[in-house]
Symmetry: C2
Subunit: 182 residues, 2 copies
DNA sequence: GTCAAGTATCTCAACATTGAGAGATTGGGT
DNA sequence: ACCCAATCTCTCAATGTTGAGATACTTGAC
């Protein structure tokens, strides 16, 4: 078992699944240098963290009769402010999915009466998607439970650790060009 | 526009899409406290980082005729070492997907001649999945390009930043119980 | 030994997404 | 005015995943 971070004497640093993965690659492919393995480990940790956090969110959304894709649309409409309206294209870019996925999400939400579609008065190719009263009430309730759950899942990290993590991720995102929602 | 990190005077810190999202929520729901918004932002950054990194990996896998799910299985078998063999259950736990997904992945890889399924001699419920020679050669080639690409995508971060990010993510993962691959 | 509970894999329907493409509309250049 | 490229949304087949259930086998308690 390698100790890539040189922290064997630091009792507070426990190993995670990715340390195991890195050690396996190091044993099997000793030709890969440390920087490569570190990159692989970091990307792997981001993926696994996303996976576990997403899994932990599901039950909260389910309590409100939603799944993440639906909540994502409702929350996007909610946070742009009254009249809680965007075009399908605006939603698409914010959600980072393709147009087919947005059509599907809107169909589901429309059937539930949480959003309405109306023609865009200034561009007849576009539609305007708007939260219904029921939709606004639901997302306003759901978001409170959702963020409380997120805080709970991050509970093991101190404010300093969260700040460091957040700052480094912001720099990564900026470098990947993720500078705008729409 | 809020400045949640108090870094307005630090010219080197650019805003990303999540800063925009946070500002929108702050304006629309001033009742949500800073810690809640910070948690939402951090989780959002992890999700967006995963999404962008995953998207950036696709073309590399495609160059080798693979998609991520297939590469994931091949890489898991490769890194356990000779004879590059695991049960379907072992693969399932490492990949964090359900049994149906693993069956599907193995079917595809078997059709391509990259893995073989044989009965487990010591447990007749189980199957042993093994890299073929073609599978081992392919994954050994693909992994080199893959990690080079990962390094490239992380290129904007200094070694110190990567270390801080990695360390904080490890602590998060450990706190979420992600301590073993299998 | 027998039986119940647990485990390993596969099957299958439901669902979300992608990616290519169609249809309608817009807008700039000529 | 006209055209052509770009834009906006929807459609649809293909793909991958989940989650429940079926089947076969193993294990431990009695």
């Amino acid at each position: 078992m390698v100790d890539p971070k040189g922290l064997a004497s630091t009792a507070s640093t426990d190993a995670d699944a990715i340390d195991e993965l890195r050690a396996q690659w190091h044993r099997e492919r000793p030709d890969m240098d440390a920087a490569s393995l570190d990159a692989m480990a970091l990307v792997g940790r981001i993926k696994r963290a996303d996976h576990l956090l997403s899994k932990g969110m599901k039950p909260i959304f389910a309590e409100h009769g939603l799944e993440f894709p639906e909540f994502d649309v409702l929350a996007t409409l909610r946070r742009v402010g009254a009249p809680h309206e965007l075009t399908a294209g605006g939603l698409l870019k914010s959600a980072m999915v393709t147009s087919g996925a947005i059509t599907n999400r809107l169909d589901k939400l429309e059937r539930k009466g949480l959003i309405e579609r109306r023609p865009d008065p200034s561009d007849r190719r576009a539609i305007r998607v708007r939260l219904t009263e029921a939709g606004r009430e639901l997302v306003d309730r759901a978001v409170v439970d959702h963020v409380a759950n997120e805080e709970r899942m991050l509970g093991a990290l101190s404010a300093e650790e969260r700040g460091a993590l957040d700052g480094a991720l912001r720099r990564l995102l900026v470098s990947l060009g993720d500078t705008h929602l729409g």
